[in-house]
Amino acid sequence: MRPADLFRFARDAATGYPVRTALSVLAMAIGVAAVVLLTALGDGARRYVVGQFSSLGTNLVIVLPGRTGTGGFNPATAITNTPRDLTVDDAAAIKRAPAVQRVAPLTVGTSEISTAGRLREVMVAGTTHDYFAIRGFVTAQGTPLPDEDWNRGASVVVIGAKIREELFGNDAAIGQLVRIGDRRVRVIGVLKPVGQGLGMNTDELAIVPVSLAQALFNTNTLFRVLIEARSRDAIPAAREQALAVLKQRHRGEEDVTVITQDAVLATFDKLLGALTLAVAGIAAISLAVAGILVMNVMLVAVTQRTGEIGLLKALGAPARTIRLAFLSEAAMLSAMGAVLGYLLGQAGAFVLRQLFPVFPAYAPNWAVIAGLGTALGTGLLFGYLPARRAARLDPVQALMKH
């Protein structure tokens, strides 16, 4: 039998029993749609988290005061107990390490910001010029913090978009004096609005020189030191060098924690990747169920069409042709289901993206290929048994069933 004729024969047979065909196509479609949609969700979550982490800055190494995490038992810290402060001078020392491109010390606290009778709570970040470059902050108006001596910062502030709006409304903000705590500072820049991200919302942030913030909060220690390595490959070196510098400055004690964005990212990446895989696995079970349904449908088809099979044999069809005819029909049902499910799944992911624009709900390619492949594979696998049964029917017996 010619392939085109085989195809037409299988198609006519499938459309000859619309309810049965629709049911198995639907089952297959639901299975594939589940794979596409669930992996879109899982992978979307992974991408969202990875994206948020990446927005913290690239090639980032972060120093935290105190030893946390799973560093094991360290007798030195066990005795001294209270960690040494992480200071602006520490940060400046790190800046000289060869693998380090930029360094920004960071101190944070909350204070009040006011001008012309308007007042509100504000998150104050004390840092330096390079912080903007490391975090990728861009000013909508004015300039970032000036590049100056870290210990003698000017009395200036860069404010978030929302702060600007609340304090100044439609008036110009650049050059205006505002009061933060007990200091009077001049507004030199306004950040571009970005909305909610992971961590701080920069729209409600006030950024001042680190020395000013330390004086404001009456502290010497830093909240973080942000380090930008020279390249992605230099991240481990930057981490080692920063650790070495601090250990030396802290009299041989390793009393800081250095985390790399890469490590955090890799952990999340792996975790959410595994989650996606698990979800895909669960969805694949529904595909197997759909495959069994296709098998049942085809077994019913063989029983219903026993007389026809006998006739085909009488007309000279070899066993192979009959097997192929039924296998093609099973393949057609699963292929139609797979395509329909793919479209449904993609449509579902599209709706998700419309509802939650920040959430990148795209099904990964591997999941789409695996889903479609499994659908066709199970269809053929489970279609084989009925096809073989049809091909083995005794023609005389089959012809009597009419």
Partner: protein, 230 residues
């Protein structure tokens, strides 16, 4: 040489504890171009004989030579090929595929044999004309009368131009008038050289054949050709 030679053919069916000898040591020769009616009471083995002749069934013992070639030892696929090219079947209950049109049903043996669409179309068009089905080409079987259905079935049986046509009670589901039409068609084929073997319960129809075989309990009880009944 005879078209069909049967020697010592046995076909037994096991029904619980009892063995039914549907065909018992049957010897028979049928010449090419002959017109044979097979008659006999119900259960005498007529259909079993026809199924064996059509290679739909295998004998438990004996040899069957078709055109001088032993076909009992062929593989199933080789037998399928013989059915496709050498044998046409006409059934009592027509056996048309309900979802296919008359034209598609007629073309089915050619489709299965992998004949090119253009050639199929040409032969189907001719067959539709020969069997006066021109205006029914696109009708499904349930839109056809019984006589038209059997005409489609006969057209299908002849479309591969086989030398042998086997018909098992071809008029059994038709009224007398349409039955006669169908018989005329089959006799027309025979007139053009096709060997025709018809199983029938109708003595009048049986009498029209050149040779009558009467079966009883799996034996040949009577053979009008005068060969020694086996």
């Amino acid at each position: 040489m005879a078209l069909i030679q049967l020697a010592g053919i046995c076909r037994r069916f096991q029904l619980g504890d009892t063995t039914v000898n549907a065909l018992a040591d049957l010897n028979l020769q049928i010449d090419a171009g002959d017109y044979v009616a097979v008659m006999g009471p119900s259960g005498s083995g007529k259909s079993t004989l026809l199924n064996l002749l059509g290679l739909l069934d295998r004998p438990d013992a004996g040899h069957y030579l078709l055109e001088g070639r032993d076909v009992t030892t062929l593989s199933p696929d080789e037998q399928a090929k013989v059915r496709s090219q050498r044998i046409g079947f006409v059934f009592q209950s027509f056996h048309l595929v309900p979802r296919l049109t008359a034209a598609e049903n007629i073309a089915l043996p050619m489709t299965l044999a992998g004949i090119a669409p253009a050639e199929r179309e040409r032969r189907v068009a001719q067959a539709l004309k020969d069997f006066s089905l021109d205006h029914r080409a696109d009708h499904k079987p349930d839109q056809l009368s019984g006589g038209q259905r059997q005409r489609v079935a006969i057209a299908r049986a002849t479309i591969m131009q086989p030398p042998l046509i086997l018909a098992d009670e071809p008029t059994g589901n038709l009224d007398r008038h349409t039955g006669e039409e169908v018989v005329h068609l089959l006799e027309g084929l025979n007139a053009r050289g096709v060997t025709l073997i018809v199983v029938t319960h109708d003595p009048a129809m049986g009498a029209r054949a050149r040779r009558q075989l009467v079966m009883e309990d799996g034996h040949l009880k009577q053979d009008s050709a005068g060969h020694a009944p086996g």
